[in-house]
């Protein structure tokens, strides 16, 4: 069993999906959290000058979703068949889109009026429509693929909880009963429940 070392800053950010997968998989890893002044020295030695990175057996992987998929795959959490794996991947990618839309249109918007308008649109139009699509993709039992917990379910929980702190109120799952089940399945997974209780409290 290789030793895994995950390096990121001291926050949830883009590393949290990996930490959640490690938790669900019950896989041990070293959770390295860098101070900002430690980053410049490490940066040129990373594949794309970014964090998170995963180191194991002398190999370095980057890109949070690729790392998450790799660890999930080893633990059987990435989908059992190629089509199930594609379903997992498409939901993950959809969640990335939802996060990117928030980042590009709202978080990085300097004009306060535009920002408020975009936020309203995001919460009142975009998210309900997207959640409606996702609700159709989830099973009655609350799983996006293969009727058991996969990386897709974890990605859903992770991204919704990532944008929530930046909104006036948390995104509502009212009217999306299957998505509520997805969230419940994720938070009640024993490994994830334990991690959610024990993880460091950080501003992001």
């Amino acid at each position: 069993m290789p030793s895994y070392k995950l390096t990121y800053f001291n926050g949830r950010g883009t590393a949290e999906i990996v930490r959640l997968v490690f938790a669900a998989a019950g896989t041990e890893y070293e959770d390295v959290r860098l101070e900002q002044d430690q980053w410049p020295e490490l940066k040129p030695n990373t594949p794309m000058g970014q964090l998170p990175i995963l180191e194991m057996d002398g190999t370095m992987l980057c890109q949070s979703n690729s790392i998450a998929r790799y660890i999930a795959k080893l633990a059987g959490l990435a989908g059992k068949t190629p089509l199930d794996q594609a379903r997992v991947d498409m939901v993950m990618d959809g969640m990335v889109d939802m996060g990117n839309k928030f980042a590009y249109e709202i978080y990085y918007e300097k004009d306060e009026d535009k920002k408020a308008e975009k936020k309203k649109d995001y919460v009142e139009k975009y998210v309900p429509q997207f959640f409606s699509s996702l609700n159709k993709l989830a099973s009655d039992g609350g799983y996006f693929a293969g009727d058991e917990l996969t990386l897709a379910d974890i990605a859903f929980y992770n991204m919704t909880t990532m944008v929530n702190p930046y909104l006036e109120q948390p995104l509502s799952l009212d009217g999306f009963p299957k998505l509520q089940k997805v969230e419940d399945n994720v938070t009640s997974n024993p490994g994830i429940a334990k991690w959610l209780k024990e993880r460091p409290e950080t501003p992001y």
Partner: protein, 215 residues
């Protein structure tokens, strides 16, 4: 079901997109490289408002496999790569392919932001300049270095053969070369890689016959 050589030839593949290369082209390149037949559906814009309602996330591309719909361009390309043996040989190789694809996807998303989403002309030019002066050179120098770690950089991006990372890279290259034909001059291994992918059996023929579209 199990995907065996015989089974996959019997599956029916339909790729739904607009009449562009855009985010469907990596999958088209992979189908071409494998000589795997598929229906290359190109939607007319008038059809779009009704068409999108049938799609899982109201977006294209969508790959239909024997009636099951998969969306999201990266997920689709990875699936086609798996079916055609171009996804990477081991779990670790697949992860390396995936991380390179994510890197390319990030850059394409950044470009898409100023091309399609930024409406203010001044901001658009500022973002375009930042893209070509900072984002792209940083990305290309990382990739030149990563390519060189794979057998000296004279093959493909990961492992021994073509993977979906190479398909994505050609699509990005085609796009950026339109704006800056000399963009690869500082990156000789990447320039050679682009030619290697362009002349790959199956891809070469597809490039010659594919619909010519501006993007």
């Amino acid at each position: 079901g199990v995907h065996c050589g015989a089974c996959r030839k019997m599956s029916v593949y339909e790729l739904h997109y607009f009449n562009n290369r855009g985010r469907a082209e990596p999958a088209r390149l992979l189908f071409a490289a494998a000589g795997l037949p598929y229906r290359d559906i190109r939607i007319q814009s008038e059809q779009w408002p009704e068409y999108k309602l049938k799609l899982p996330m109201h977006q294209v591309p969508v790959l239909e496999v024997d009636g099951t719909m998969i969306c999201q361009s990266v997920a689709i390309a990875r699936y086609v790569a798996k079916v055609t043996g171009h996804a990477g040989k081991t779990d670790l190789e697949q992860a390396k392919v995936d991380m390179l694809v994510d890197g390319i996807d990030d850059v394409m998303t950044k470009k898409g932001d100023y091309v399609w989403h930024e409406k203010d002309e001044t901001r658009k030019m500022e973002k375009k300049t930042a893209f070509y002066e900072t984002t792209l050179p940083q990305f290309l120098s990382h990739f030149e270095k990563l390519l060189r770690t794979n057998n000296g950089g004279d093959g493909f991006l990961v492992g021994e053969g073509l993977t979906h990372a190479d398909a994505w890279f050609l699509c990005l290259a085609d796009d950026i070369l339109l704006d800056f034909p000399d963009i690869f001059s500082p990156y000789p291994k990447l320039a050679a890689l682009v030619e290697r992918i362009r002349t790959y059996p199956g891809i070469k023929e597809w490039l010659a016959k594919r619909p010519q579209t501006p993007f």
